[in-house]
């Protein structure tokens, strides 16, 4: 394609953008809103995930053993557990060690003079926090295991929340993307209408369909790109502010560093352009008949 032709396409596109400025602004606003919503939910969910990783790494399974168990059986169990897939670490905590820990936690020797009531146990860490429940279930089945405990419920609940945050975000984003496509396709329709004489002449002169299409596609993509850039800028600034605020005020929670956000930025611009191209190709097909 000639440089001259490309210049022509862009000139035509920008002329239309300016001519339909109100519709153009509406299109940009729609794309920006769709992506800001998508972005907010995305950031919310990745941060949730991130925070959860911290929590999860503390979630471990404790398997209490029956008191009567012999040393041999205990060693065998340790081997068996280590062989279960998904288990990262198995640590044996003897009655005595458990008592020491207990004393440390409580600070005083409450159990002085009584026979140690704490059972032997294993502390088990898993690779994937999603598997905690599954692994616990498996461990429970071994004979010699009296009781299995883990942060039951919490993990599932948190995962559930993340799941819904994602789903709701996605649903809202789909609705907004559809609205964006609709508005953009109407904007392009105005352009097609304004230029119908020209298009008619172009076709008689022997313009290819793609030559006729490009300016409209570019117009749509530019609208999408401006909208998504706006969304990225707004989200970026807001996230930076949030990050700093959280860091200063709630030091326990560590949000994903702002750099992570940049990874998404390009994807967002891409989505914006796609929405624009889709919206305009919709109109071109319907109203241009080329």
């Amino acid at each position: 394609m000639r440089l001259r032709t490309i210049k022509y396409f862009f000139k035509e596109s920008f002329t239309s953008l300016v001519r339909n400025r109100w519709m153009s602004l509406a299109s940009i606003g729609a794309v920006a809103s769709a992506l800001i919503i998508l972005g907010s939910f995305l950031l919310l969910s990745v941060n949730f995930d991130h925070i959860l990783k911290d929590v999860e790494s503390q979630v471990e399974i404790t398997a209490y053993l029956e008191d009567s168990l012999e040393q041999e059986r205990i060693s065998q169990l340790k081997k068996d557990f280590a062989a279960i897939s998904g288990i990262k670490e198995v640590e044996f905590i003897s009655k005595e060690m458990a008592l020491e820990e207990f004393k440390e936690q409580v600070g005083e020797d409450l159990l002085e003079g009584i026979e140690n009531p704490l059972p032997n146990s294993f502390r088990i860490k898993v690779n994937d926090p999603h598997e905690v429940a599954l692994v616990a279930e498996k461990i429970e089945k071994f004979s010699g295991v009296d009781e299995v405990k883990y942060g039951k419920g919490i993990v599932e609940k948190l995962f559930n929340i993340i799941y819904w945050v994602r789903m709701i975000g996605l649903a809202i984003m789909v609705v907004f993307a559809a609205v964006s496509i609709f508005i953009i396709s109407n904007t392009i329709r105005l352009t097609v209408f304004a230029r119908r004489r020209e298009i008619n002449i172009m076709k008689y002169i022997g313009a290819t369909d793609w030559f006729v299409r490009w300016p409209f596609l570019i117009e749509g993509m530019v609208l999408g790109l401006i909208g998504s850039s706006l969304a990225v800028a707004i989200l970026g600034i807001a996230y930076k502010y949030l990050y700093v605020t959280v860091k200063l005020n709630i030091p326990m929670i560590s949000l994903l560093p702002i750099e992570q956000f940049y990874n998404y930025a390009f994807g967002f611009l891409g989505i914006g352009m796609f929405i624009g191209a889709f919206g305009s190709s919709f109109s071109i097909k319907k109203f241009l008949n080329v």
């Binding site: 000639r2 032709t5 004489r197 008689y204 002169i205 022997g206």
Partner: protein, 228 residues
Amino acid sequence: MIEMYGVTKIYPGGQVALKDISLKILKGEFVFIVGPSGAGKSTLIKLLFREELPTRGQIFFGGKNITRLRPREIPYLRRRIGIVFQDFRLLPEKTVYENIAFAMEVVEAPGRDIRKRVPYVLERVGLAHKAKAKPSELSGGEQQRVALARALVNNPDVLVADEPTGNLDPDTSRDIMNLLDDINKRGTTLVVASHARELVDSMKKRVIQLEKGSLVRDEERGVYSNET
């Protein structure tokens, strides 16, 4: 250059616009298509540049069957045909120069060629001094000259014109006809649908007469006549 074999055109509503037309137009010819209103002149012109497809029959352009073209190939057929309409169809917001250059941009001609070719065709239609004017600042005859220049700028093999003088007074019409004759003398094949009886008669060109969709007369150096 152009051959039609048994061409019939029936519009979707059932209107028969052309009935079993066969004809041959040679390279370099100047042909008038005449006939009363509704005879099918415009339809015949439209078949040539694939605005319409015949219901039956075959049409060849430069040896190629254009009824079998894929949609993708149509633009390349049209680049070999300059098209002129009764209502000029110029772009009002572009200058005369830009209107003509536009036709070259659309077919992706190099800028160098555009800068050379546009002044040349403007000169040929006698409008070099109006290059910067907008169509609204021109007379009807001048506008039609611009349209002619635009149709010529890509150097087509054939120029087709549907009532090119339909909106012009007799004197201006004659000027345009002379210009068409001049274009033809330089080698472009011309197919012109026209109502202008005296004008057609005075040109002494081949005349193809249609009536209710049928070809009723085809004469070298003919005259427009309604008596049958």
